[in-house]
């Protein structure tokens, strides 16, 4: 089949206002009935216990809408966005946007799961604890680690958990004050620098060597008696796999540090290589990347953290235990780092990941890795043939499941750069691609990841759009520079992104910064009163 570009595509443009601009005072979605005389008499004034000085004088300025309005509003917004189920989500390199089987959504929607409460007696939740216990066994086999926790609610929290465990380990040896430095690389995920910094460490970042590989000599210059640990990804953002990873780990171990493997995206190495064999002490997996649980627009996610036996005593509480007869939760762990999040983590993410692995089996997991690497290398061959595209660090050979590309040759020749192409591609029904984490070490970057979900035709269609935009850049660059033309909105003024004076995290801040004054306070009817 010849790849077909979606030339006639046009995105939905509802011109939908912000919800805070909608509605009518007094309008309600639900009219709550009065509590009834008997209940009121017994309960009294439920607000009475709230001290007067922390009570709101005015009710919050919440939008007041009916149910159909709310439904229409959010359905329209959903139509104006491109999600993994609507487009070829190859664009989000490093995010591993694979197909999330819909049958797994049925599983996690079952009341047997949704009606559970974390405070329930463990005797009544043996089933879900068994699922979690079994999935822990699976991750142990995949990574070679000895124990796992599912408590972290995302990848960065998983890395933070590992940083806390590194700190606890050195504290237990009386070296916390001496070992203050975490080493990472510039092409590891930025959370490998940010999380240890949040945990109080100083962060030392290594630049790659001239060929794009992590620089072993730079590591030698960086390790010392102050080294607390190494926190890195492999393959890195560039898609380059560090073949000397064992030497990196050994060097840090010899200096007295621990090594944490950021395996948020392990798609290219499932069943191929493990953290254990590379000598790592700990790792983490994003169940919402490699293990097909949906990203869900920043959650619910799961950063499953695995450690070797020697570090298991530091894991967050509770750990999930099995005595051969019964599953139970263990809070009695004196050296634990405590809790990084409430309860046992995002259980639906674990259930989906478990279902996904069970449907594939061990050989299937290996096939996932092989297919995603094959897809990526097929796509790289086609992308490299497009005029204006370069592969960052062409000398680095082994590329696994993603690649950082560069439009620098195109930019130099035509003036069309990566931001311009990014705005143009949405005109063909494709989500704008991920460029790079900051700083941009690779100029005019973009990062693509065609994981095992995508067929040859899908990849061909995607590449065809890129080729078409490159053609446009050469023949009529104004089309690309003026894009998007077929999207929900036209080009927006991005200068505010750079000006803190114009940033607004809330609607109230937006109004204040736009008008220069605090918005007028309007006294609304109390929300405890039914609409009049």
């Amino acid at each position: 089949m010849k790849p077909r570009r979606k030339d006639g595509y046009h995105a939905v443009a509802w011109q939908e206002p912000i919800i805070l601009e909608m509605g009518t005072p007094g309008e309600r979605g639900v009219l709550l009935p009065p509590a009834g005389e008997g209940i009121t008499r017994v309960v009294g004034d439920v607000l009475e216990s709230i001290p007067a000085d922390i009570r709101r004088r005015n009710p919050p300025r919440l939008p007041e809408l009916s149910q159909p309005q709310v439904l229409r509003h959010y359905l329209r917004l959903s139509q104006m966005s491109l999600g993994a189920d609507l487009n070829l989500d190859i664009s989000q390199g490093t995010c591993t946007m694979k197909y999330s089987p819909k049958v797994n959504e049925r599983l996690v929607s079952m009341p047997e799961l949704t009606e559970l409460h974390p405070y329930q007696d463990v005797d009544t939740v043996q089933g879900v604890l068994e699922v979690m216990y079994r999935f822990e066994s699976i991750l142990k086999a995949v990574s070679g680690m000895d124990r796992f926790t599912f408590q972290p609610g995302g990848g960065a929290q998983g890395i933070y958990t590992n940083a806390c465990i590194i700190r606890a380990y050195h504290e237990s040896r009386g070296q916390a004050n001496q070992r203050t430095e975490i080493i990472t690389t510039i092409f590891s995920h930025p959370a490998d620098a940010a999380c240890p910094a949040t945990a109080g460490f100083k962060v030392i970042t290594l630049y790659p060597d001239g060929r794009g590989y992590p620089d072993l000599d730079a590591l030698k210059a960086a390790v010392s008696e102050r080294t607390a640990g190494l926190m890195i990804t492999n393959p890195e953002d560039t898609g380059v796999f560090n073949p000397r990873i064992r030497e990196f780990v050994d060097l840090v171990h010899a200096a007295g540090g621990l090594c944490a493997y950021d395996q948020a995206n392990a798609n290219g190495i499932l069943g191929v290589t493990r953290a254990r064999e590379a000598g790592f002490d700990m790792c983490h997996f994003n169940l919402h990347k490699t293990f097909s649980s949906p990203h869900g627009s920043s959650g619910p996610a799961s950063g499953a953290v695995g450690v070797i036996n020697e570090l298991a005593r530091f894991l967050p509480v509770p750990t999930l235990e099995f005595d051969g007869d019964k599953h139970y939760l263990d809070y009695d762990r004196p050296e634990t780092i405590g809790k990084v999040r409430g309860f046992h983590g995002n259980v639906p993410a674990v259930v989906r990941a478990y279902a996904w692995v069970m449907s594939l089996g061990a050989k299937g997991l290996r096939l996932v890795a092989d297919t995603s690497v094959l897809n990526n290398n097929y796509m790289a061959m086609k992308m490299a043939a497009i005029p204006g595209v370069a592969i960052a660090y062409p000398e680095a050979r082994a590329r696994l499941d993603q690649i950082r590309y560069s439009w620098e040759p195109l930019k130099r020749k035509t003036g069309v750069g990566t931001e311009d192409v990014r705005r143009r591609m949405v005109d063909f029904g494709l989500q704008s691609y991920f460029e790079s984490h900051h700083p941009w070490v690779v100029p005019e970057p973009f990062t693509l990841e065609p994981d095992e979900t995508y067929s040859k035709d899908d990849i061909d269609e995607y590449v065809e759009v890129m080729r078409h935009i490159s053609d446009e850049a050469h023949s009529s660059p104004e089309i690309v520079l003026g894009a998007p033309h077929q999207s929900t909105i036209s080009r927006i003024d991005e200068s505010a992104l750079d000006d803190p004076k114009r940033w607004a995290m809330t609607w109230r801040a937006h109004l204040r910064k736009r008008s220069g004054t605090e918005p007028m306070r309007v006294t609304l009817p109390s929300i405890s009163e039914p609409g009049r």
Partner: protein, 398 residues
């Protein structure tokens, strides 16, 4: 954003150094001075600057109703403006075919007096230096790179980006600015194969927001926070009571701002226990300070787009001073964005003492923020020659 009423039509000043770039193609490494220029003409050099200026000005043609262009006569701007479809108000006078740096300086002074909102000029490092000498600080400039030597950070990466940046600024779509280095290199020495650069001053340039490489390398806000972080870390370290010799640059100035002290932007200042002990010190003064036996530290930031840690703009930090302080006493500071702009090329040292340069090679820890360091390669500039062509792509505005 609030739609404030435009005060008046925006005014743009335009200066073209018509002979900039002539030496490059014929291998003369610059055209400073009439003899070299004559030599370049004999070798068949063609003017490069007019064409490049037109390329930039074409990008501004759509604003012809909204912008009043002031230019110098003939080849110094008038011709180029007309070729690009703009109708300039011509000021001043020149001797055609015989323009010099003095014309550039005079033009810049007169345009400053006219209250232009932006000065667009085409040339190389020498031109930037002339502008810098005549220009009051504050009003932004955009450089169209047309010279042989482009070490100054006031230049956009190319003529088109210079035109676009000027247009965005005049339209009010870009309002953020920063101070950019004006670097120049002694051309006579350069021709003899020695590079002797110096930091001449700073000009204010608009910064293109969220649409270009320098900014995406690290957002402006992020850069400012990183500067604060670097300053906080250095001020923390200064609590050891040691003597700190702080080199030139806006990065190191942030340290002084945090201390509440005034920094000599182009010079080396010394601080001890929170007090300024020497301002704009020369080599001898620095050696005298170090003679007392107090432990000394050097705080430096790479100067210019090529990543020189020593030997460009901070020659006061001589081999003698560096020897006294020792390799361990050198603290290199730079934001992560500045380091990324080096394109993976090593930091360079050119102290004038090749043995010392070799000793300083290897890996250095660069302080990039509060408790943030990069491990980065350092090379002696003699062992890794810097090609002007490679320089041109870096260090620009864009």
């Amino acid at each position: 954003m609030t739609g404030s009423v435009q005060r008046r039509v925006k005014r743009l000043g335009l200066i073209v150094n018509p002979v900039a770039g002539m030496g490059g193609r014929v291998g003369l490494k610059g055209t400073d001075g009439p003899e070299v220029l004559a030599q370049a003409s004999e070798l068949g050099a063609k003017p490069e600057a007019p064409g490049r200026a037109i390329e930039a000005l074409v990008r501004l043609a759509r604003l012809s109703d909204k912008v009043l262009v002031f230019s110098y006569p003939g080849e110094m701007g008038e011709d180029e403006a007309r070729s690009a479809g703009l109708e300039p108000v011509v000021i001043g006078s020149i001797v055609p075919g015989r323009t010099t740096g003095a014309d550039t300086e005079r033009a810049a002074r007169e345009m400053a007096a006219l209250g232009v909102d932006l000065l667009l000029f085409a040339g190389g490092d020498g031109t930037a230096r002339n502008v810098c000498a005549a220009w009051g600080a504050g009003v932004p400039v955009v450089g169209i790179p047309a010279g042989v030597k482009i070490h100054s950070a006031v230049y956009a990466t190319g003529p088109r980006s210079a035109g676009d940046l000027a247009a965005l600024f005049l339209e009010g779509k870009v309002s953020r600015t920063r101070e950019a280095e004006v670097m120049d290199i002694d051309e006579a020495a350069f021709r003899e194969g020695r590079v002797s650069g110096r930091l001449f001053g700073y000009l204010t340039v608009p910064v293109q927001a969220g649409m270009n490489q320098a900014l995406k390398a690290a957002s402006r806000g992020g850069e400012e926070r990183a500067l604060d972080g670097i300053a906080a870390e250095i001020v923390d370290r200064m609590k050891d009571g040691g003597l700190y010799l702080v080199g030139p640059g806006t990065t190191t100035r942030a340290v002084f701002q945090r201390l509440g002290l005034a920094k000599t932007l182009l010079g080396v200042d010394a601080v001890q226990s929170g007090r300024l002990v020497a301002s704009d010190a020369n080599e001898r003064a620095l050696l005298t300070l170090l003679a007392g036996g107090t432990s000394g530290r050097i705080v430096v930031t790479p100067i210019g787009g090529q990543g020189f840690v020593f030997g460009r703009g901070n020659q006061q930090l001589s081999p003698g001073v560096i020897h006294k302080v020792g390799r361990e006493g050198i603290i290199v500071v730079a934001t992560a964005g500045k380091m990324a702009s080096l394109g993976g090329n090593p930091l360079l040292v050119d102290t004038g003492d090749s043995r010392l340069d070799d000793e300083l090679g290897g890996y250095v820890r660069v302080l990039t923020g509060y408790r943030r360091e990069l491990v980065y390669r350092v090379a002696s500039s003699t062992s890794s020659p810097v090609e002007p062509a490679r320089t041109r792509r870096r260090g620009g505005v864009e």
